[in-house]
């Protein structure tokens, strides 16, 4: 992550810690804007195809496992909670508690991934692939791209965990933790829309 070593970095003298904190957070919000529009293309495709083929969506979404989807939603929302609690912990100067919450968050991300793995294998078992129909192509591309973001978020949080264990963060310096948290919440945010759009079509 940018900024972790900024303070001792030779070219970093121009940035005082307050500016650095604001810059990094603002930068992450811009990146979130980018991510929203990346998924935006898929949401646009979804809207158009759902309006075009309402029967296909109504029929084929029954193949998806609503229970597993709901479970994964709960897992991801819980992981967002643990992430948020982690940020408060370090703001209050409790790095050990932060490490615990980060670990929980990563494990919940992993649980999400495992769950998704079973879901995908069940689909493949029934000979459902991307390309089987427009609906399943949407299902696989949307959840697949989201899954990639879960992995990226987990990698980011693992880095944060290592840095926390090395004692890098305190109530005086936790910018990277908070900014990584923003990214993790984005992953949750996108799933909040994916779940009803794919699994809960009446």
């Amino acid at each position: 992550m940018e900024g972790v070593e900024k303070i001792e970095h030779v070219h970093g003298h121009h940035v005082d810690p307050v500016v650095e904190y604001q810059s990094l957070k603002f930068g992450m919000w811009l990146f979130i804007a980018t991510e929203l529009l990346l998924f935006g293309g898929l949401f646009a495709a979804y809207t158009i195809f759902r309006a075009k083929f309402p029967e296909m969506f109504a029929e084929q979404h029954l193949e998806l496992n609503k229970t597993l989807g709901a479970l994964n939603t709960a897992v991801l929302i819980l992981s967002s909670l643990t992430m948020a609690l982690g940020v408060t912990s370090i703001q209050r100067g409790k790095p050990k508690r932060l490490a615990l919450f980060l670990l929980l968050t990563i494990l919940l991300g992993l649980a999400f991934g495992v769950n998704k793995y079973f879901e995908y294998s069940a689909k493949f078992h029934h000979h459902i692939y991307p390309g089987t129909s427009i609906f399943f192509s949407l299902y696989f591309t949307m959840t697949g791209l989201h899954m990639l973001h879960v992995f990226a978020g987990m990698a980011l949080l693992t880095t944060m965990l290592v840095l926390t264990l090395r004692g890098r963060f305190s109530d005086k310096y936790y910018t990277p933790v908070e900014v990584s948290g923003l990214y993790w919440h984005l992953v949750d945010l996108i799933w909040i829309y994916l779940f009803p759009l794919l699994y809960l079509i009446a």
């Binding site: 070219h11 811009l30 991307p130 427009i134 192509s137």
Partner: protein, 534 residues
């Protein structure tokens, strides 16, 4: 670097340290800028040579040097490399990187290491695109489906390379937005910012918000070829025109990613060489933002004859006219700045004036094409080719050349030969017009674009156009030699050879590593020409 003390790094010129590795690992925005400049120039030369080959093929009817398939490959290469490797990163990444921190009074960009990473990602993308040449794509730079799904050429690698370049573009834009927001020197308020900064800011917004849409459309195109997901395949219920919507949702704003920084350059050059304050500062500043906003509303004017609905075509045609307004505001204000100025026709100014003249032609012919009824006739003819090149070469590249000659002394610490620069300009200006003006006429006569051959009645104008391309090529060659010679034989540049009031000229040429010995306190805007001693 690590061995120097801080006091030393502030006084060492940024060019001092030698060795390739010291460049490739430098987080100094000025070094990164120079690396971009060299890379994009290399790709400009490659794509330019392919353009000369294309024009050579069109010198005479029938086969001249290449067959039809090679011709398709060549124009795909020319378009994709010019657009994605030269003109999109072009001014923003090279001059933007060099100038933004200097102009706002900062020591570097907000995220220097992210900046270096963006450059590496750019190189990686470029590398992937070059590898794709082993089985070069023949789709044109627009990759329209369904042909791009079915062609046997290597579309996947080329589009993946562009996807990677998109990342670089997004991260650069993000870096610049944060830099401009958070790192302005004390007293550098928004309304004191140089107009190049406003332009870079507008460009960066487009980079951050438009690029992800092409990223996803190219990913979907790749998924279409690998998995057959069917979004763009009518046989599976998909919609090939949807790809065009996604593509142009990015690629029209991308036109402004290419042109707005050039407009920023012109806004800097004109007042310096007219010795007058810029006229209508706020109008120019906010029109950049207006272009950034409106350019998102007009994408489908590229698709009037794609089989789009008439409802959509009418809406988009109307919206398209809106985008002409902020552009016209700029041209008006530049012209007003020139009025009664003491104009000094140095080479940067010659290119700036060429910009105004040629871009106006490019913009006005764009109005014809934006009009639904006229476009139905002119679409996919050489009229479009001429229009696009008047905007891209007449606009962006003239702006690029203006910037190159204007900031050359600051960047290199050397002067070039002004007389030779003017001769080169004359060749470029004449060559450009001889090449592309006949294409307007060819277009109205109905010659379609993207064919390797044409009926004999179009011969004389094509011949003229090809001859023009040689004049243009000679001009650019002379310019390149002149600038390269300046590096080795040029006189040492003074700190402020053109008497500019902007901050980047208040530091030595070339600037030291951390730009400013002390961060300046800004008390006035940068355009007070004619009033002070300046």
């Amino acid at each position: 670097m690590a061995n120097h003390t801080i006091a030393e790094t502030i006084t060492i010129p940024y060019l001092e340290e030698k060795g390739l590795l010291s460049w490739l690992t430098s987080t100094d925005h000025k070094r990164i800028s120079i690396m971009y400049l060299l890379s994009i120039s290399t790709f400009f030369v490659l794509a330019g040579i392919s353009a000369l080959l294309l024009r050579f093929e069109l010198l005479m009817p029938g086969k001249t040097i290449v067959d039809a398939h090679t011709y398709n490959v060549l124009f795909t290469f020319h378009g994709a490399v010019m657009v994605f490797l030269f003109i999109v990163p072009g001014l923003a990444a090279s001059f933007g990187n060099f100038l933004i921190p200097l102009m706002i009074g900062a020591r570097d960009v907000a995220f220097p290491r992210l900046n270096l990473m963006s450059y590496w990602i750019y190189l990686l993308g470029a590398l992937i695109i070059l590898i794709s040449l082993s089985k070069p794509a023949d789709t044109g730079w627009t990759f329209y489906t369904p042909y791009s799904i079915r062609t046997g050429t290597d579309v996947i690698l080329l589009t993946f390379g562009i996807f990677v370049l998109g990342f670089s573009s997004i991260l650069t834009g993000l870096n610049f937005i944060v830099t401009i927001h958070k790192l302005r020197a004390p007293g550098m308020t928004w309304h004191r910012l140089p107009l190049f900064i406003w332009a870079s800011y507008a460009t960066a917004i487009l980079q951050v918000l438009a690029t992800p849409v092409i990223a996803i459309s190219l990913l979907l195109l790749i998924a279409e070829r690998v998995f057959g997901i069917g979004f763009f395949d009518p046989a599976k219920g998909g919609d090939p025109i949807l790809f065009q919507h996604f593509f142009w949702f990015y690629s029209h704003p991308a036109v402004y990613i290419m042109i707005i920084p050039a407009m920023g350059v012109i806004s800097e050059v004109i007042p310096v060489f007219s010795r007058k304050p810029i006229f209508g500062y706020k109008a120019i500043a906010y029109s950049s933002l207006a272009i950034a906003l409106i350019s998102f509303f007009v994408w489908a004017h590229h698709m009037f004859v794609s089989g789009m609905s008439e409802v959509a075509a009418t809406i988009f045609s109307f919206l398209t006219f809106l985008v002409a307004i902020p552009t016209a505001i700029k041209v008006f204000n530049w012209t007003a700045t020139l009025y009664k100025g003491s104009i000094d026709l140095k080479s940067p100014m010659l290119y700036a004036l060429s910009f105004i003249f040629l871009f106006t032609i490019g913009g006005l012919t764009g109005v014809f094409l934006g009009a639904l009824a006229a476009d139905v006739h002119l679409h996919d003819t050489y009229f479009v080719v001429a229009h696009m090149h008047y905007v891209m070469i007449g606009g962006t590249i003239m702006g690029f050349f203006a910037a190159l000659h204007f900031w050359y002394p600051k960047m290199t610490g050397k002067m070039f030969n002004e007389k030779v620069a003017k001769i080169a300009w004359a060749f470029v200006f004449i060559g450009f017009n001889v090449t592309f003006f006949p294409q307007f006429i060819l277009g109205t006569q109905g010659m379609p674009r993207r064919y390797a051959d044409y009926p004999p009645q179009f011969h004389s104008l094509n011949e003229l156009s090809s001859i023009g391309s040689w004049i243009l090529g000679i001009g650019m060659f002379v310019m390149a030699i002149n600038l390269l010679r300046g590096l080795f034989n040029g006189e040492k540049a003074p700190q402020n050879p053109f008497n500019s009031l902007s901050l980047e000229w208040q530091v030595p040429s070339p600037p030291p590593h951390e730009n400013f010995e002390e961060i300046p306190h800004v008390t006035d805007w940068t355009y007070g020409y004619g009033k002070k001693s300046a």
